[in-house]
């Protein structure tokens, strides 16, 4: 009997809940696979998909978003060996799964921790509550391929933002595989969009895009590129998360900063009286 011929996987983009190829028809060879090489047009399409998903995702109950993020952890746990086969260390997969669980629990707690009533000096009801800023462009860290990616996506979406992620150009397979996890976890289409390819091609478009509300430059290692992207982001005053050092400890307690940096605080006043 001859040996079975394996069925190989086509690694594609993840936009609007679907897996399209790059509209440019291009791919690049990385990790022994042909991976879609996203174009500027793909970046713009991804922003459209992310914007379309904002209303439903931001409007979902915190309980619902928490359940969905927990569902992502469940799906990731089940596909542990698949990531290991891609070269992701098993303990990194476990840490990434645990990170989804950690952030899942924040969905209905952060508004209490980060908002609340304000004791104004007058007869007014006054309440501050966080709200998602909207569409967030994210440059995922080069490594660790899975834990780094999860550590930038989860805090952005748990509060109701939607994201367009530029995946690690050198280790994109974990990102595309994570997209398959997301696609089977009840995450609505468009909440997470993942672009593979060159950062220099997609990220400047995202940084300059007038319908993107914030940009997370975590994975940008070139200081000049980071400064250039920040300048582009100033055009519509995007909220900017600056790059982190390459030796950043992704296993450490992340704190609240990645969530709160992508939130707006809304304060509502109303008179009290009879």
């Amino acid at each position: 009997m001859s040996e079975r011929v394996a069925v190989r996987k086509t690694y594609k983009l993840f936009v609007g809940g679907k897996f399209p190829r790059s509209e440019s028809g291009r791919s690049y060879l990385v990790q022994d696979s042909n991976v879609s090489l996203a174009s500027r047009k793909d970046a713009r399409d991804a922003v459209l998909a992310a914007r379309a998903a904002v209303k439903g995702w931001a409007g979902a109950t915190a309980y619902n978003r928490g359940q969905i993020l927990y569902r992502v952890a469940e799906m990731l746990e089940g596909r542990r060996e698949q990531f290991v086969a891609l070269g992701v260390p098993a303990d990194e997969v476990d840490a990434a799964t645990d990170r989804w669980v950690w952030y899942a629990g924040w969905s209905d707690k952060l508004p209490q921790v980060y908002g609340g009533s304000n004791p104004v000096a007058g007869p007014y009801f006054n309440l501050s509550a966080p709200e998602p800023t909207g569409v967030v462009a994210v440059v995922a860290p080069e490594t660790p391929a899975l834990l780094g990616l999860v550590s930038v996506i989860a805090p952005a979406i748990v509060t109701g933002n939607t994201v367009v992620v530029a995946a690690s150009p050198t280790a994109p397979l974990a990102a595309v595989t994570l997209a398959e996890v997301l696609a089977t976890s009840d995450v609505p289409g468009g909440v997470v969009n993942i672009l593979t390819g060159r950062l220099s091609e997609t990220v400047p478009t995202l940084a300059a895009h007038m319908d993107v509300n914030a940009i997370d430059l975590t994975g940008v290692t070139d200081p000049e590129l980071a400064a250039d992207l920040e300048v582009r982001a100033a055009e519509n005053l995007k909220r900017v998360l600056r790059p982190v050092p390459v030796d950043h400890d992704w296993l450490a307690d992340p704190g609240l900063g990645r969530m709160t940096a992508l939130l707006e605080t809304k304060t509502v006043w109303h008179p009290k009286g009879v």
């Binding site: 004791p119 104004v120 501050s128 920040e230 100033a234 005053l237 909220r239 450490a252 006043w269």
Partner: protein, 485 residues
Amino acid sequence: MFEYAPAPESRSVVDLKSSYGLFIDGKFVDPADGGSFKSINPASEEVLAEIAEGGAQDVDRAVRAAREAYEKVWGPMPGRDRAKYLFRIARIIQERSRELAVLESLDNGKPIKESRDVDLPLVAAHFFYYAGWADKLEHAGFSRRPTSQHSGPNPQPLGVAAQVIPWNFPLLMLSWKIAPALAAGNTVVLKPAETTPLTALLFAEICQQADLPPGVVNIVTGAGETGRALVEHDGVDKVAFTGSTDVGRAIARAVAGSRKKLTLELGGKAANIVFDDAPVDQAVEGIVNGIFFNQGHVCCAGSRLLIQESVADRVLESLKRRMAQLRIGDPLDKNTDIGAINSAAQLARIKELSDAGSAEGAERWSPPCELPERGFWFAPTIFTGVTQAHRIAREEIFGPVLSVLTFRTPAEAVEKANNTPYGLSAGIWTEKGSRILWMADRLRAGVVWANTFNKFDPTSPFGGYKESGYGREGGRHGLEAYLNV
């Protein structure tokens, strides 16, 4: 309108010097290149004082003084002691409030009843509020961000803060900037607006009177170039700016790629939304307060009035009747409702945009009123028949000019209200509670006033969505801008 006898507040409480230097390292000093400019009373065009113009060398000197004070005195000082200095400052402001209020009205043109009853009480309250935080920062709810470049106990101050403030609420904006910065343990270099530097310089005297250690607060007066030198200085760790969106954008570009933490409080074009069930008289008071408070020189002014179509005629009729009662004139007169426009340049901008409103086909109306001959004045004005495409519905006028639009359904009101790159504030007038909450959820604005407008409090976070800037001032949230979190 009733004729009132003049009731001017006395100027004698203010002891103006003929010229003022820069306040650096606890002392008033001359600028390195000796430049100066004049600050005038916009209600009379009278020169009030000659003000030193800080250049790059002066900014450098101020930043160094602030650094030294941060490293040697203010940074290491226990929070409870920092608190006591801030409480002292709050008390001195209360004690000298009339003097400060009169000076603010002289330099800015705002009515004395506003500087006396709104600005000054809020200034003192702001220092009082943040004073109490200085020794409680570890309870402010901020956890360590692992990417922080700082080490040591958490949370930590940033260092030297560069702060640039506008002319519409000169001393109030100073308090919004300096109080949280100092409470968190930073030192500051503040640049007041070039048309309204005087209360900041009196504040410098108050710092001396409070025995605040030299270098903790530095005031460098000047115009745009002075501000640019300050925010671009390598020695600052934090930039805080309140002003126009265009300048905010330029500052965001200037700090790109640096370590400087940035917060921006920029322009607005707030919708004030009146539903058909709103009590008309209350709503009209809110509309008037929303757009004519401080001559409309308010970033969160309710400058777009959205009235539900079925009650538009009734609301407008009542609004016009109320506007005819507004008293325009001498800012120091206690009966004055609307004072002077802050500068000739601002008056020109208001006129330009208002003329564009007429040219684009909107209908202009102002009550009959006599404007003083000298000084900068603009009658309260409303435009009806405004569409969303008109410049007066899109651009911030920053003057007593209201654009009126109508809507039919709550969904349309939300759509129109959010149809702007700004997102600072919004107003809702309705008797229906569930509608207020439904609207408040959907309005993309940092402050939503329901059945009230233009209310401020040191405990209440203030700041914008979208191109109205980022970061919050006031409340626990306001500390975040000055801590390594």
